[in-house]
Subunit: 137 residues, 6 copies
């Protein structure tokens, strides 16, 4: 079993808040991440898959294929976008890094499992000091 990881990046705006709460209540719970006029990040996304090597060609999968899937299903939908407004699969969700990771897993898993591998981990850096990992359960 080999684990392969591909890094992709995207730049997006977002805001953490509950619509049913006042700005004051949102500020109390989410801090400056609830600024009503949005803020943003250079997100770094690490997608890890695992599988057996195809002995003929020495690959589990071609990382270019993995990159292509991640770009089509995720990056094109979130890069230079507002995660709360512009991204169909995030609508109605709090755009915490936790929820982003789970949503990306749900988008990627069906396509990745058609390849010779399994999705293993979604890792997201929101800043150089904070990251989230999700392993699908």
């Amino acid at each position: 079993m080999i684990y392969l990881t591909r890094r992709e990046r995207f730049n997006a705006a977002h805001r953490l808040f509950l619509q049913e709460w006042s700005d004051e209540k949102n500020l109390e719970v989410f801090g400056k991440c609830s600024n009503p006029n949005w803020h943003g990040h250079n997100y770094e996304l690490f997608v890890t898959v695992k599988g057996e090597i195809n002995p003929k060609i020495g690959f589990v999968i071609n990382l270019k294929h993995l990159s292509k899937i991640v770009r089509e299903l995720i990056i094109e939908k979130v890069d230079h976008k507002n995660l709360n407004i512009d991204v169909p699969f995030m609508l109605g969700k709090i755009t915490s890094a936790e929820n982003i990771a789970i949503s990306f897993w749900e988008e990627l898993e069906p396509e990745i499992n058609k390849l010779n591998c399994e999705l293993h981990c979604i890792k997201i850096f929101e800043t150089e000091n904070n990251y989230i990992e999700y392993f699908g359960k």
Copy 2:
């Protein structure tokens, strides 16, 4: 003459556009940076000052003082904010990295020149692949 550099970071939303232009025209000129619902970045800011060493204490200036000035005059005003809406000294300007650098210079120079040094360079990374430097002229 010694050059000292302090790195600070901020996370902000912005959009590149001219109000007088249509979304199509803005898209043509500014590309995906003109997305109407904003996007954002983890900006990295490097402030470089230059001066003579105070021979008694071996410092040009205490970098903590420089950091304090940069945080008060810049970081507190831009971190977790929308650069187009929330930042008084950016109002009415296109929030390109070029203009951000010049505006930061204008905010910082008067305060930094009260110290035993001169502002030398404002350097801003918008992504790991792009940065801007401004030397005040």
Copy 3:
């Protein structure tokens, strides 16, 4: 289950040695890390916790709370300090990265387990080429 990681940094002096050994014996076992007049590092600390998402707010825990705990219990006690002399919870221990990781685990676990999560991993970089991970057992 989601894993969250927070990075913190501290700058400290230390020395690897056994008081009962001669300088020569210490040099033989610990190499230049046993220099009698100390040396030091910019340590990087990664604290990983795991837990379930609070579905209401989309968080496992607020990473600001985690950061606050790590700063109060660890960083304030080790930053700009001598790990062999100044840090109560390291006294009498060899200040290897292994022992630092275990000691940090012991300091952090009781407080972190009061939150909606469990301590999962302490990871410490001593240099860009060396790091240690401890998972509590």
Copy 4:
């Protein structure tokens, strides 16, 4: 149980191809990695071992010993070399990062297991966007 990781680096040329295939077929499967005149990388290698702390000296093993083993068994054989031609233990293998990781594991495991620890993971970065991990099974 403590996990220790040592980073080493090497610069090497390689090419992905099957001798039995035409250049066209190799290009179709391996893309530009099959360029007949080679290309190359600054590879980063992370070797992770695990073991119990020796309570007397606070170490699992001295990371200098681990570094020495990795340099003698791996780095001296691959650094500034052609992985397809110059490296005895890669001969006849496709020089994918997957196969490099498995081959390094096979070279290192017998020597590392003579120390007070077990080989846990071989991690190889081929570029800043791609890495492979192998855990020995």
Copy 5:
């Protein structure tokens, strides 16, 4: 005057040697960089241009245009290539980082000077420990 920098990357094989010298003589002068079967690098290229801001749009130039020029004139010709054999503008030259920097300058300057800016610096990292800068004279 504003300075803009764009980072691009390429992976290439090369060898330092003089055809008229024996392998022994080449080894003496160029060290392991003269290995007859090539070695390679993940090169990082930083292209810096300088110019006045277009006040209407807040840009000196669109960094996407700069990136496009660098990719077309440089990256497509050197990425996943052998710098000694595959790159027309390097033929007959020693492929030192110095010569690479000068050659890239000569390829880029005419195209960049058609934009609203001037080429200022070519910076090339061969490894994380070595880089070269060339300012055109």
Copy 6:
């Protein structure tokens, strides 16, 4: 004219203080950097030289020679040492990054100027957020 830069690293302890001042006065001026029991850093040193290319071999100088000089004259004397006590050329000086940079310049310049180049810049990172540059005047 080409500029070449070599990165080297060292880990050292130090303390900022004036012997003639009380601990309180030192704390007031130097902050936590004056902790009486020392602290330390992973210093990063960038040495930049400039010169003309030797057209025969495509080098200004062999960066291995530069690295050898820097290691012999600087790194061996400061690595895993106490900068205030163990380093002859720092004795009696405040071990600020400013003074370290100037002292390194004085140690390196005579030897580097015997090569086919001139010393151009000493750059020292004390932490990831602070660095000093000195150009010899």
